[in-house]
């Protein structure tokens, strides 16, 4: 019997309309766990690096994590993987909610699409019964609307639906996949879904998921819950309130937006407004939030409440989480939060990424102001800040006029527009829009994470280590006192020694080696979460989370029956991390791509930065180009990768060994 996983994938060839249920190899679970780990393996094995994202050879993988649909709290992630049309690298985006557990209960660990459907379709998976159904009546419908229509049409209130909106249908590079209160937004995977002709995937499942060592496992789950109960209300001092507890950033619960509105940049990561927040705005914004927010809601089997049901009078209800209430507001320079909730409703129905899309729109208006885009490009566009944004959003998702260019994101739009537009696409890493942050002093830990993260999105890399030093020794001691999550005691010392000013402050403290260790730890936790499908909000993202490197091995082992200790789990992490790197290296990723936006920090230190990157690569067992060495690949049982990279001339044997 297979435990925690079903042992089956559902494979759908859209070109031929063929559906197959295939048993998977249990050895792959031992080597890569599941979720992102096995997705990466499938992409490596099956989709050659020359494959264009919008080609019928590209595959689109919806995976549950290994622990999804077990009682492990917060194990509910869907990991969607494909080649990204925006970065051209491997794109993986994740969503919480209720979809992945449903797929697993239907009897599948993954749903894998290849080919392209000639007509718009949706897929209906009801346990063993799988149907590809016509979706022409859903063309152009909103993502939330589509889910409701499908549930009604199937008469299945319990079905979970993941859908794209107009943006996905039109292959907008910021297109998301929406699913109830969650969405897989980053890197344009909604566009790949649209390219394949899939409007939605509805799932209903009523099968058991088995546990290998039940009483041991449930005790560990109870420990996790007990810990959450104590930790969640106990906020870490000096950390901004939305990040001080557990869960995703608690944007739906908190009113105080002083930190975001004054520290994040307005426009396209352009202007910092240091004295924006005042009593009057606080009062108004609080009223708005309270009026529109009907209920705080969670994902499957999680006690947190990171999302909310939003009902703005006069427009249809939707769900939101995280930061999107502010992204549109700030990008458009609108001081009324009401606008944020209204435009986010439309954007959710269209199915677009709430981080990139506002920046793309702000970028367009900056180009207009600079005379790079002209009035002709904006014929018919209203002049008020709110109206402008609605107008442009409508153009982008329809790919009309200038919207067609902007639909490819700031990097590609700037290339196409030329005339110096590149200067204005100033907030990208690996062609992907970043958080609108512009800071003073180089942070060496963040430097490494920004440069080297394969997801090209800082929130998916940062986490367990504090973002800044605490101000007093008492606070530091208080913090490290019950810090059981550290992989090694030395991390406590880094926190104790780290200071705001002086010798032991940034950028030279933590020292280079320590920075590598800290980044490695944070990356490791994200990779484990993404393989087992536990929400980062309970593990890799907040400080002092319930899941960590010391309890994960036993949790995984008792659920799955796989022998797993700490060093075994670390080895799996290294393997998964390295394979992901290899997938991207094979698609052309090199050192020169690994850099933060030029203006991210005012104070830069080229020598230190070079040393950081050199040391990090070495630490990972990669050469100076960021390519895993043959030796490293061998140690991780990835010899097949080494062979392939060698054949392609990417690993030039002796040379790269020497470099290392």
């Amino acid at each position: 019997m297979r435990y925690a996983e079903t042992g089956y994938n559902l494979e759908i060839d859209l070109s031929r309309g063929n559906v197959e249920r295939l048993e998977t190899d249990p050895r792959l679970t031992e080597l890569y766990l599941g979720g992102l780990g096995t997705n990466t393996k499938i992409l490596w094995d099956r989709v050659p690096p020359e494959t264009e994202p919008f080609s019928s050879d590209n595959q689109l993988i919806f995976s549950t994590g290994l622990l999804v649909a077990t009682p492990a709290p917060g194990a509910n992630r869907t990991i969607v993987t494909t080649y990204s049309p925006q970065t051209l690298l491997m794109g993986y985006s994740m969503m919480g909610g209720f979809w992945a557990p449903e797929l697993k209960h239907a009897g599948y660990d993954k749903l894998i699409f290849r080919g392209k459907s000639p007509n718009l379709i949706y897929v209906w998976i009801n346990n063993d019964k799988v149907e590809i159904r016509d979706a022409s009546h859903l063309r152009g419908k909103g993502a939330v609307e589509t889910s409701e229509l499908i549930r009604q049409e199937l008469n299945e209130p319990g079905a979970q639906v993941a859908a794209i909106g107009l943006a996905g249908e039109n292959k907008v590079y910021m297109a998301s996949i929406e699913q109830g209160r969650s969405s897989a937004s980053r890197l344009g995977i909604g566009a790949v879904m649209g390219d394949k002709g899939i409007k939605a995937i509805a799932v209903r499942g009523t099968r058991d998921i088995n546990i290998a060592r039940p009483s041991e496992f449930i005790n560990l789950c109870n420990d996790v819950l007990q810990y959450i109960k104590i930790r969640a209300p106990k906020l870490v001092p000096e950390v901004m309130p939305i990040l001080a507890g557990l869960g995703s950033p608690q944007e739906m619960a908190h009113y105080d937006e002083k930190w975001h509105t004054e520290n994040f940049m307005w426009g396209n990561a352009r202007v910092r407004r240091k004295d924006f927040w005042n009593k009057e705005i606080e009062k108004k914004w609080k009223e708005t939030l309270e009026t529109v927010r009907t209920r705080l809601i969670s994902c499957y089997n999680c006690p947190m409440k990171c999302g909310a049901i939003i009902s703005v009078p006069g427009i249809s209800t939707y769900m939101m989480k995280c930061f999107s209430k502010l992204t549109y507001t700030m990008a458009a320079f609108v001081e009324d939060l009401d606008f944020g909730f209204k435009i986010a409703q439309r954007a959710t129905e269209y199915g677009v990424d709430g981080f990139s899309t506002p920046q793309v729109m702000a970028f367009a208006f900056e180009l207009k102001e600079a005379g790079i885009l002209t009035d002709a490009d904006f014929a018919g566009c209203p002049s008020d800040n709110e109206g402008k944004f609605y107008w442009l959003l409508d153009r982008i998702v329809r790919r009309e006029g200038i919207g067609d260019v902007l639909a490819n994101g700031t990097y590609w739009a700037a290339q196409q527009i030329g005339k110096g537009a590149e200067e204005y696409a100033h907030n990208n890493i690996k062609k992907h829009e970043q958080l609108p942050l512009k800071l003073g002093m180089l942070n060496p830990i963040y430097y490494l994470m920004y440069c080297t993260g394969e997801k090209a999105n800082i929130t998916q890399i940062e986490g367990n280590f504090p973002q800044a030093p605490f101000s007093t020794m008492e606070l530091k001691e208080e913090f490290v006192k019950d810090w059981v999550q550290v992989p090694d005691e030395k991390f406590k010392k880094y926190v104790l020694d780290w200071e705001m000013r002086g010798e032991r402050s940034m950028p030279f403290y933590p020292p280079v080696d320590a920075c590598c260790e800290i980044v490695e730890w944070q990356e490791m936790m994200h990779h484990i979460d993404d393989a087992v499908g536990v929400c980062a909000g309970l593990s890799s993202f907040p400080l002092k989370p319930p899941y960590h490197i010391h309890n994960y091995p036993q949790i995984i082992s008792s659920a799955t029956g796989i022998d797993m200790d700490e060093s075994g789990l670390k080895q799996v992490y290294k393997r998964n991390r390295t394979l992901l790197r290899a997938v991207n290296v094979r698609r052309g990723l090199r050192r020169e791509d690994e850099k933060p936006p030029e203006d991210h920090w005012k104070k830069r230190f080229p020598e230190l930065e070079k040393k950081l990157l050199d040391t990090y690569y070495q630490y990972k067992g990669w050469d100076l180009q960021g390519i895993p060495t043959k030796k490293t690949l061998h140690e991780l049982a990835l010899d097949y990768v080494a062979e392939d990279l060698e054949q392609r001339g990417i690993i030039k044997n002796e040379q790269s060994e020497e470099e290392n």
Binding site: A69, T70, P71, P73, F98, P101, H105, V144, E148, P157, G180, R181, G205, T206, R207, D208, I209, N210, I211, P214, S215, F217, I218, L225, I228, K229, T294, R295, L296, I297, S298, C299, Y300, N301, C302, P303, M304, K305, I309, S311, S316, T317, Y318, M319
Partner: protein, 181 residues
């Protein structure tokens, strides 16, 4: 019939506090798996969350008695202007809908307040509801003694209703022969 003291177990359900997580369904179905906690399947849970986010309907309902026939009519609640669906508040395992039935066999499910040996301090769904949407109280009451219908009997009765008496008897006879062999 004589009067006896009876412990009344009460689960208080506060709809406003429910975040829709379905942890109650998870733990209930896992606890009742055989062996205990050996599997998870909310479709087997004896508490079900009726959840329609867009209408803000978040309603945990406990499985009550099995009924062989659906009601003569339907009821529909409107509370504070929010309309619930037909039968939403009903606890019955009823032929009119598929909740509170084992997914494969269709056998009825009923909340047992987590009967266990030794007894659980609180029902498990309450323990796993960290949002206090479910809370637990006990009180004593004097009630008339009654004869309790056994689980097996309830199960058999529902099978008889579904397949007819003769078919069930034949099947039992056949199974008992094969078990003896």
């Amino acid at each position: 019939m004589s009067k006896v003291k009876k412990k009344i177990k009460v689960i208080k359900i506060d709809l406003d506090k429910c975040n829709g997580c379905r942890a109650c369904e998870v733990i209930c179905s896992s606890f009742h798996a055989k062996p205990k906690y050996s599997s998870n399947n909310p479709a087997r849970s004896r508490i079900r969350l009726i959840r329609e986010p867009l209408r803000d309907v978040y309603l945990p309902v406990y499985a009550g008695e099995y009924t062989k026939a659906e009601c003569m009519g339907r009821d529909k609640y409107v509370i504070d202007g929010k309309e619930y669906n037909e039968c939403d508040f009903c606890r019955a395992s009823c032929p009119s809908r598929d909740v509170f039935k084992e997914p494969d066999s269709g056998l009825p499910l009923k909340c047992d307040m987590c009967e266990d040996d030794p007894p659980q301090e609180k029902p498990l769904c309450v323990q796993w509801c960290l949002n206090d949407a479910l809370t637990y109280e006990e009180r004593e009451e004097e009630v008339e003694e009654e004869v309790k219908q056994e689980d097996v009997e309830i199960g058999l009765e529902s099978m008889i209703n579904q397949y007819g008496l003769q078919k069930v008897m034949d099947t039992i006879a056949r199974i008992s022969i094969s078990k003896k062999e």
